[in-house]
Subunit: 220 residues, 2 copies
DNA sequence: AATATAATTTAGTTTCACCTAAAAAAATAT
DNA sequence: ATATTTTTTTAGGTGAAACTAAATTATATT
């Protein structure tokens, strides 16, 4: 099993992230996700298809094979382990780590990743609340839903973000709505879909945009 | 100051390692060091010369500029910091880290390296006894000389290796001649240049090849 | 069903970092 | 000083991964 190029790994990871049940992934969506052009995507899909990492038929959209899925998950594993390292050990902020992990995820060394995983204590969740696949690709199912879909007067714990941009993460830091915080949904405004939360007796109003990008898990 | 490519960084680092006072570095030497061909080297030298990282005149051999030297040292800094991390934190062995550091040294992020340096406690020496340049390029002068040049009956501390191959490092592990050990040079054989050392009352015989690749520093 | 629009593929270029083979220059030996 | 060898450069080419523009196929609209 010959090593993949950085570009190939990035395509596999993109396909993993773009996957939707019962839908082939389109060239446009991939190009958009990777900031390239559809023509470049077509070329790469042909290459990956020859390597049996995905099934590709002209105009049909693309699906990862078992092998391709495993490779993609491995890249995701490395990305999230590095993010965990950067936040937990090097004290970088959760909005600073993604771009660095985009580079680190391509370092080729199985022993490195095993040692890193051990050193970090086999973490299950990355700094943004995303699950970290283990060596075999298994990961915990994060039982979460979107903040904008939760019923009134339920208690919920912030468990992750859908939007990973620096701008959004910094905003959450500013309003102190970080992972682990427990909130109670008090009110949902019809007009602008904004939400009022209660956090330790205090009330916090968040916009629709924020609510839509926050993942929470219900609390007893 | 636009970022350098991996290849450009590797050339600069090679030039740093190949540098000899009062000698331009030749195309062949560089090609040999980088496992590429002289023709490829010539091309890259032209490019780096245009970027003012070195001075290049056809057939004259090449010398790093201030700017080029600083960039090279920065790559060396990153390489050695990562090696220190891999050994000190991840418990990899000193013969396993070089190839991984060859990849890690190219990760582009100043804040990452600053944080890593801080996390490691600003180490001054890498696992092979080589000095780690600081942010400004300063590094401690390691006051060492080759084991094969040391006078009889002097005490010396193993301080580094000239040969960085896995084979050599593993051999040193086997004979337990690792960095920090204090030895006394008891005998030097005329015939094969092998050396007899005394380590805690016990005698150890090492070959010429080993002696020539070991760096030591004198001890009171 | 015919047409318009959107998605995808093909064709032809570009840049980077490498290569081989041949030419040119420099260094060494006779 | 000339001839030989070694080093370095030039010329021409390759493969990977991108690009633009044009052609093709699929989907949506009338
Ligand atoms: Mn990320
Ligand atoms: Mn993440
Ligand atoms: Mn090294
Ligand atoms: Mn080293």
């Amino acid at each position: 099993m010959i090593a993949l190029t950085i570009s190939e790994e990035n395509y596999l990871k993109a396909l993993y992230h773009l996957y939707q049940p019962d839908e082939g992934i389109g060239t446009n969506a991939i190009a958009n996700h990777l900031n390239t052009k559809p023509a470049s995507v077509t070329e790469m899909l042909k290459k990956l298809s020859e390597k049996k990492l995905l099934t590709y038929e002209k105009y049909q959209g693309v699906i990862l094979t078992k092998k391709g899925y495993a490779s993609a998950l491995n890249v995701v594993r490395r990305h999230r382990l590095w993010e965990y390292f950067l936040v937990d050990k090097l004290n970088l902020k959760w909005d600073e780590v993604h771009d660095i992990a985009e580079q680190l995820e391509h370092i080729q060394s199985d022993v490195l990743i095993e040692k890193l995983d051990m050193y970090l204590g086999h973490p299950k969740i990355d700094p943004h609340g995303d699950p970290i696949p283990d060596k075999e690709g298994k990961m915990c199912i994060v039982n979460c839903c979107c903040m904008s879909e939760i019923k009134l007067n339920t208690k919920a714990k912030i468990s992750g973000v859908k939007n990973h941009t620096t701008a959004f993460l910094k905003h959450l830091d500013k309003i102190e709505l970080v992972i682990g915080k427990v909130v109670k949904i008090k009110e949902r405004n019809e007009f602008d879909q904004s939400v009022a939360l209660e956090i330790n007796k205090k009330v916090l109003h968040i916009s629709k945009d924020v609510a839509q990008n926050l993942l929470v898990e219900k609390v007893k």
